[in-house]
């Protein structure tokens, strides 16, 4: 059985204008020691999906239906004390902006020892010892645990965030755009660190990014999301070498490869649909260049095109493209 199994997750937000169907029927699994990438444009619901798994949704968001089975427990129905025990101890999250995710008036070491002491019955000395070990693991000198976040550079701060996520040795880590605000060289350092840690500790790993090329280098499995739905799902080789959904094709073509042939990134014209009133049929209908009228009538289900490679497109299912 998979470590994390998300089935038909629907997360909605109540807003003044109506209910936003941010995540609408998403299913995927993550095995132990497997790295999965969740990709898509901004607003496609990838962060919402991650926050649903952690049950960290803002107050106007709620999980309408769906199951999130993690290590045999359904996260959706857990009560608050049990949830608190699961978070950090069994799964944790690395947030996007390391600048804002750390408390600026507390020493970084204290911010890591705090969850260790809360979750595990250990003395402060033991917690500090582990914090030092964690710092060494992520490549920061252990002498720096008494410094404040502003004394660290962006890359170092992101390392602190990683150390913090690892504090109670969780089995699942969700990284939400962990390198987006960083320079290419620092990005490469952090990605290598994450990949090594994931392999060494055989972590389940969900990486969320808009940058497909970053996911290509770190993840074995990829889910492409569009407007709250998964449109394509498969190994990264499937997705990059044989993209089938028109949106995935567009997305893959939007990334220039510095080692490959020179081509202009191909834009995908148009904008994602409004998720308060999502279209009845395929959500990519408006922007799709292959569309036929019947696409707008029924929602395409995920269809297995080759073993382990799923695509949600009527035309692919019919064998037209």
């Amino acid at each position: 059985m998979a470590m994390l199994e998300v089935t038909d997750l629907r997360t909605y937000f109540t807003t003044m204008e109506g209910t936003v169907q941010a995540v609408d029927g998403v299913s995927f699994t993550v095995e132990e020691g497997e790295a999965m990438g969740l990709a898509g444009e901004s607003g496609c619901g990838k962060t919402t999906a991650a926050l649903s798994i952690m049950r960290l949704l803002p107050s106007n968001g709620y999980i309408k239906t769906g199951k999130i089975i993690f290590n045999g427990k359904n996260i959706v129905t857990l009560n608050a004390p049990k949830l608190r025990k699961t978070r950090w101890k069994e799964m944790s999250i690395i947030f996007q902006g390391a600048m804002n995710a750390l408390n600026p008036v507390k020493r970084v070491g204290d911010q890591i020892t705090e969850p260790i002491m809360l979750h595990e019955n250990v003395s402060e000395a033991a917690a500090i010892k582990r914090t030092k070990e964690l710092f060494e693991l992520v490549g920061i000198s252990p002498d720096r645990i008494n410094e404040y976040p502003h004394e660290f550079s962006g890359g170092m701060r992101q390392r602190v965030m990683i150390a913090m996520a690892l504090a109670c040795w969780p089995k699942l880590i969700i990284a939400d755009e962990p390198t987006t605000a960083l320079d290419v060289m620092i990005q490469a350092q952090i990605l290598r660190l994450l990949k090594n840690l994931q392999k060494e500790l055989s972590l389940g790993f969900i990486m969320i990014s808009h940058d497909l090329s970053v996911l290509a280098e770190t993840c074995e499995k990829l889910c492409i999301m569009y407007a709250g739905k998964i449109v394509e799902n498969g190994t990264s080789i499937h997705v990059f070498k044989n993209p089938r959904h028109p949106y995935t094709r567009g997305l893959v073509a939007a990334f220039p490869n510095i080692k490959g042939v020179k081509f202009m990134p191909e834009p995908i014209p148009g904008n994602p649909p409004n998720l308060i009133h999502p279209p009845k049929g395929c959500r990519f209908y408006e922007r799709c260049k292959y569309k036929i009228d019947s696409c707008n009538e029924t929602e395409p289900p995920l269809f297995e095109i080759e073993p382990g490679h799923f695509v949600a497109c009527h035309l692919v299912q019919k064998g037209v493209i």
């Binding site: 320079d183 060289m185 490469a188 940058d211 497909l212 990334f255 080692k259 202009m264 834009p267 995908i268």
Partner: protein, 462 residues
């Protein structure tokens, strides 16, 4: 005008920011500290060309762009802008710049290749207004650079009002419509009366571009124009910029940290590191055949959208260094995987590797390294020998002392004395080893550099 004339020529541009060290220190100390954001760079942009500056954040690429528009004041150097003289604005500017002014020495008009250019750095504030009609900037973040309280019409009309360019309301509206049309926001009346929050991110960036186009510039400084946009619309903006170049013969200074975008979009690339251009050349050459170790490393770490790519990444250690404390010699040497003795002592010259493609690195001049190393080897050998001689004598003396101390055991302070002497001996030993290793390294460098000489590639004895 011929196709390959320069529209912009920058020579030895320096932009330094003075560091505050505290009031008293600033007043008393004679030595001011500077953050050398841009430290002696030269490049040119041809008419209709896209020149791209790439580098990590903090390398001075944005400061260079801002310096060209004098949004930050350059410290020294020249920025020569030479556009078609038939253009009334340029004509007026040449006339004004040729006149004497109390605010500058001599004239701001510069002769170059039989044409007249204007040194932007010498223009007065009122003359700068004219120059800015022909050099415009596109900013990075379309979410922050547009005033949320102004309609798109007002945002785009603002430069016309500032420059007193519109004769009447009708003319103003016609110009705004044209700019919106050019920027691909069609039909203009659909967008004109909206506020920035009512349009999408890609459209906002188009508004930013329309705001730059309304003055019909000939050079655009585009500072990371697509990095804040979603991937699916980046291509649109790049295509728009290419179209504008075709239609209006625009030239671009394109500033980006993303080498893969630079690769597909630009004609020529300059790679910046810590305020200097370390490698420059036609895009294809720089990306496919990088010469400087920094460029080589940067190219390997760019994420590639290919899960099967198995390439060794050259990940440089450490973070980017500090522009207030620039290392001597080649400024890249503390992070360079191929560091040689000469690198930390003297700045390497720009060496041409292919036609139009140069890099500033000693690896390109093996003969120079061999010459320097062979010339200086005796000097360092002598130093090493001296150190060895002195240290051996010293060690012998210390060892004698140590024995004397050891024979007189029992007292507590002798234990400390023994430890201290042992430490001293160790220190002298490492010093000797270091000096020796230094000489050995220089010798090894000569050998490796000899293998890089063009003549060495042919088999000499067979």
């Amino acid at each position: 005008m011929a196709a390959d004339t320069d529209i912009l020529k920058i020579e030895n541009l320096n932009i330094w920011f003075q560091m505050r060290q505290g009031f008293l220190k600033d007043v008393i100390s004679k030595k001011l500290r500077y953050a050398k954001a841009v430290d002696g760079i030269s490049f040119n942009i041809k008419k209709g060309e896209i020149f791209c500056l790439v580098g990590e954040s903090g390398c001075g690429k944005t400061t260079t762009g801002k310096g060209i528009l004098r949004l930050v004041e350059p410290t020294s150097g020249s920025i020569i802008f030479a556009d078609e003289e038939s253009d009334p604005v340029i004509k007026k500017l040449l006339h004004l710049a040729g006149e004497k002014s109390r605010k500058r020495e001599g004239t701001a008009v510069v002769e170059m290749e039989g044409r007249r250019g204007i040194d932007i750095r010498k223009l007065t504030k009122s003359e700068m207004i004219y120059a800015r009609q022909r050099i415009q900037m596109i900013f990075q973040d379309p979410y922050e650079s547009l005033n949320p309280k102004m309609t798109i019409f007002d945002i785009i009309a603002e430069p016309l009002i500032v420059n007193k360019l519109s004769k009447d309301e009708k003319d103003k509206e016609a110009r705004v419509r044209k700019a919106l049309n050019d920027a691909g926001l069609r039909p203009p009346e659909f967008y004109m009366w909206r506020y920035p929050h009512q349009v999408s991110g890609g459209q906002r960036q188009r508004v930013g571009i329309a705001g730059a186009l309304v003055l019909s510039p000939s050079l655009l400084v585009a500072d990371e124009p697509i990095s804040m946009l979603d991937v699916s619309i980046r291509g649109e903006i790049l295509k728009l910029m290419l179209d504008l170049r075709e239609k209006k013969r625009l030239s671009y200074l394109f500033i980006t940290h993303d080498l893969s975008v630079a690769y597909v979009f630009s004609d020529r690339i300059g790679v910046m590191y810590l305020g200097r251009i370390v490698e420059m050349g036609p895009t294809e050459m720089v990306i496919k055949n990088p010469k400087h170790p920094y460029t080589q490393a940067l190219i390997t770490v760019v994420p590639k959208p290919d899960p099967t790519a198995k390439e060794e990444k050259i990940i440089l250690k450490g973070e980017r260094p500090d522009p207030t404390n620039i290392p001597p010699g080649c400024r890249f040497h503390p992070r360079c995987p191929y560091i040689m003795t000469l690198c930390s002592l003297d700045q390497p010259a720009e060496t041409e590797a292919e036609i139009g493609h140069w890099a500033a690195c000693y690896l390109l001049t093996p003969d120079l390294v061999i010459k320097w190393n062979t010339e200086n080897l005796p000097k360092y050998e002598k130093i090493a020998a001296d150190v060895e001689k002195k240290n051996i004598a010293e060690i012998a003396r210390l060892k004698k002392e140590l024995e004397a101390l050891k024979s007189a055991t029992g007292k507590k302070d002798t234990i400390y004395a023994i430890k201290a002497t042992e430490k001293n001996i160790e220190k002298l030993d490492t010093e000797m080893a270091k000096a020796k290793a230094f000489v050995e390294k220089m010798k090894a460098e000569i050998v490796t550099m000899k293998s890089k000489l063009p003549s060495a590639s042919r088999p000499q004895s067979s």
